[in-house]
Symmetry: C2
Subunit: 147 residues, 2 copies
Amino acid sequence: MINPFTDEYFMKKALQEAEMAFDKGEIPVGAIIVVNNTVIARSHNLTELLNDVTAHAEMQAITAAANYLGGKYLKDCTLYVTLEPCQMCAGALYWSQISKIVFGASDEHRGYMKMGTQLHPKTVVKRGVLAEEASDLMKQFFAKKRK
Amino acid sequence: MINPFTDEYFMKKALQEAEMAFDKGEIPVGAIIVVNNTVIARSHNLTELLNDVTAHAEMQAITAAANYLGGKYLKDCTLYVTLEPCQMCAGALYWSQISKIVFGASDEHRGYMKMGTQLHPKTVVKRGVLAEEASDLMKQFFAKKRK
């Protein structure tokens, strides 16, 4: 039987969120949280609209997922995010004890890997899913900004 | 002329916030943000009440201060927090470009220093202000929990 619920399938939904951020003039990063193949949270970066450096897509998704689940730990959840999380988001994910993180494009400058942020020992990471699409969207955004 | 606005003066206010957290059964951490000797944000840890790992005192204070200032950068602000910030909060403070962080007790296990989280290069840090008071409150909390 074909399983339609691949990482690419869910990452496309995160990319749709990133596109919504793009349309609002926000740095285009989108995230969703999935449990048992069901999306329980979706969000995109809103730091400009909310005037708030903490309003990254992942932070909002963590809060929304915990709210949906009625508990603060995201133990059976997977986060799909279009860009590698930063120190803040990785730190929040550490506290959440999330099971899996799938991200698209790497952030060579401010990503948690370069910065050395620690995730929870139980968290599995997969990187590079639809990375080119996520990266293209970021490049378009900054090219447009420079004009 | 005596300056009443010392770091101890403001840390006492952060400690009052930590006591409020204690009374609610929350891990007792309090924070305030000050600009020109005026408190513009005050908060305490609410992770239990809100079922949200992101609801640390510092995160709420950053959001509240940005809201007060009408801009997301906290360039002329000082954060007073009773406990050393974690990776998440240090990561948020990095983005905020806050001028100064004053913290009380060190967190040897999950503090940003041990974890190697990077702050903004312009951020000045002062540690150990009313550390004993902050630490005592934490010890009381965990002793009570174990009972």
